[in-house]
Symmetry: C3
Subunit: 298 residues, 3 copies
């Protein structure tokens, strides 16, 4: 599926890939921009792993609190040419997002993009075409040595009995609402109502003798008919940093995920599993809980 482009064939602005590349991809702005929001919410650079299944990224934030695993399957691209054995490329996310943001939202999936990855030395070439403007932008840069990027995290194997499937956009609004009161919130449920709340109970009662209650008040957001138990039915509750949660759910919304499931337990990490079926993107965020002894009550 690779197409050769002669360096002086400037009249042809159609996206085209290079025969000498180790990996060649044809895609469009919308899916690529949406996907890159995910690692970009946690890290500045990541190890992009490519095999004939697609693109893979696993990353953990510098404070070791949040983790991402995501795959963009080969079938989700208009063209995908990669070797069987994995190729790794150290990707500067600022540079990459800046280049692909030149692809505008237009037509079905945005302006067309081609990506070539070369080896020895490792470098990436991205071209973006604006057909209506009769313009083509080409950018090229060297990869970061993948050995200089933090090792991929090992996702924990967790037993998380509680579930909820809120709409990603609603979850963004819910996090923003509890954020008005404190910098952390409990994730819990009341029967089939998914709850984000300042208080472990999921209610908003406040105590005049509690300094935090007196200073910040308390808030809660209720999302009926979105929660259930895969365990013994007893509702569980864990406390999380709203800064992290906010970044993660914003990235999930921007990634245009069409399916999201939240998994949580009792003082355990929360797992956010989400996907975009049409584009072939499957992802998981894991966020470590904040413990009461961290000063969770303050």
């Amino acid at each position: 599926m690779s197409q050769a482009v002669e360096p002086d064939d400037r009249d042809d602005i159609e996206p085209a890939t290079d025969d000498d590349a180790a990996v060649s991809i044809l895609t469009n702005g919308d899916p690529l921009r949406s996907w890159v929001e995910l690692p970009d919410s946690l890290v500045d650079e990541c190890r992009l792993r490519i095999d004939d299944d697609g693109l893979h990224v696993a990353a953990v934030d510098p404070a070791n609190v949040a983790m991402l695993e995501t795959t963009f399957r080969a079938e989700g691209f208009r063209g995908f040419d990669a070797p069987d054995s994995e190729v790794a490329f150290g990707l500067n996310l600022d540079r990459f997002t800046s280049v692909i943001s030149w692809a505008r939202k237009r037509g079905e999936d945005g302006d067309p993009i081609s990506i070539d990855l070369f080896e020895n030395p490792a470098r990436m070439r991205v071209s973006v075409t604006r057909t209506d403007q009769r313009m083509k932008r080409v950018s090229e840069w060297f990869g970061i040595d993948p050995d200089h990027i933090r090792q991929d995290p090992n996702p924990p194997d967790l037993d998380l009995p509680d579930r909820a499937d809120p709409n990603p956009s609603n979850l963004v609004d819910a996090v923003e609402a509890v954020d008005d009161h404190r910098d952390y919130a409990y994730i819990t449920r009341d029967s089939d109502t998914f709850v984000l709340a300042s208080q472990e109970s999921g209610n908003t009662q406040i105590d005049p003798d509690d300094d935090t209650d007196a200073e910040t008040g308390a808030g809660a957001v209720y999302m009926p008919e979105t929660a259930w138990s895969e365990g013994d039915g007893e509702a569980t509750s864990s406390l999380f940093s709203l800064d992290y949660l906010d970044d993660m759910v914003a990235a999930i919304k921007k990634s245009k995920a069409d399916r999201l499931t939240v998994h949580w337990g009792d003082q355990f990490p929360v797992e956010l599993n989400f996907s975009h079926e049409d584009w072939g993107i499957t992802s998981t965020f894991v966020l470590a809980p904040r413990f009461e002894s961290d000063g969770g009550g303050a």
Copy 2:
């Protein structure tokens, strides 16, 4: 009209008030957000007085230059349950505006809101419902001790012969225009033309020997057929700080006032009387004049 809501009745996201509350109100986002713009333009916290007539606020800014009196009548709410005798609540305006801003502009008057005021200890509970998203937000916080809030101002009894009834939105644009030149402006009229001007004459002639004229130039805005006299017909003129005037007219515009009358005299305060008939809101801003001897010519 109060409706009980059981704490665990989470499936019901309809706005509901609490039987234990001293005051219970059912309303919508648009009128409430509009009304709160008024005190929020002058102060950070205010004494909210509630009786069976409605909500009342009187406030004066920290520098004693501007004053507000406003009433939101009980008939303007979808539900209003308050005792005959006045209840006072010390309201943190930042917290209140932040919570009610979660109610979006939607439908006729915005997302529904319920407010409960409890006594001993004094606290407020506000719930906002987003019916289409099937979400409900509840926030609760303690009141500020009303005795710790500045006393309500006594509105002066002024004899102000000149009047104008500009469109609130036009007045915002007029203040912005004269603000290009100086940080104060004269309010005056030329026959039935309402005038905001850098110069007392209401004209723009400038004097090369006057340092302020040379440095800033002069500006004026003319609004024909909006001014008249209730006095002897002689036009009067007073000088005002544009910072204050700007904040006040912006708040009047945001409050969606459908009727505004400006009253002024000769080196007297200006009174802005305005109302929103449908919502039952009636208000007055009073702004003290800046005197020439303040360095009004500089």
Copy 3:
């Protein structure tokens, strides 16, 4: 064509000029705001020269790198009354743009504006009318002594063989794209493709041993079928600061130029000739090249 306006004729908000003025102009917001973007992109104040042909400005930026010559022809105004012999006025561009920005985009060419220039002392009066709001704004200020403004530049006579006629809006997007990589770019062509590129070759190949290549990568934008030669057909190339180029092409776009031609040569200045035919505006920007020996490779 002058119309007298009596100072107390406040009911009449129609734009009107003053019989005592040396120069009187009737125009509208859109052409005037668009035109002023041009000098405003280079300088804070300029010498406005007026004769019966129209308005003329020539300006050079404080660093002597970029130069502008522009004429707004008398025929482009709704009314134009000026003496045969040139009148010069020292114009503070901040004040002027701020005043005319009160004219909104409305109707065919925006809100109507009248300008009067008086002599002894030199002053300008601008009035802006918002017919729908029944408001008129008048502003008046003294001119800067023209002798205190930098002398008008002498445009160089250059032999520039290469040409391109990109759409102004596309050129803005192209400059923004190469700006992602470095703070300068080459202007060149590949046959009839106009090229903006980090590399003199117009390609994007990068060298791992070149520090700049390793740090910033390289970018290029290709615009096929917009370039040609008026010389011997050999493509030429010169290096330019993207800061300057960005300001200039942004001003050209805002000026709504409907025709743009880029002229360049081998390590020579670039000339941007552009015009708005309907409004009678003709302009030239000249930008000095950055030389390799300036550290052009760094």
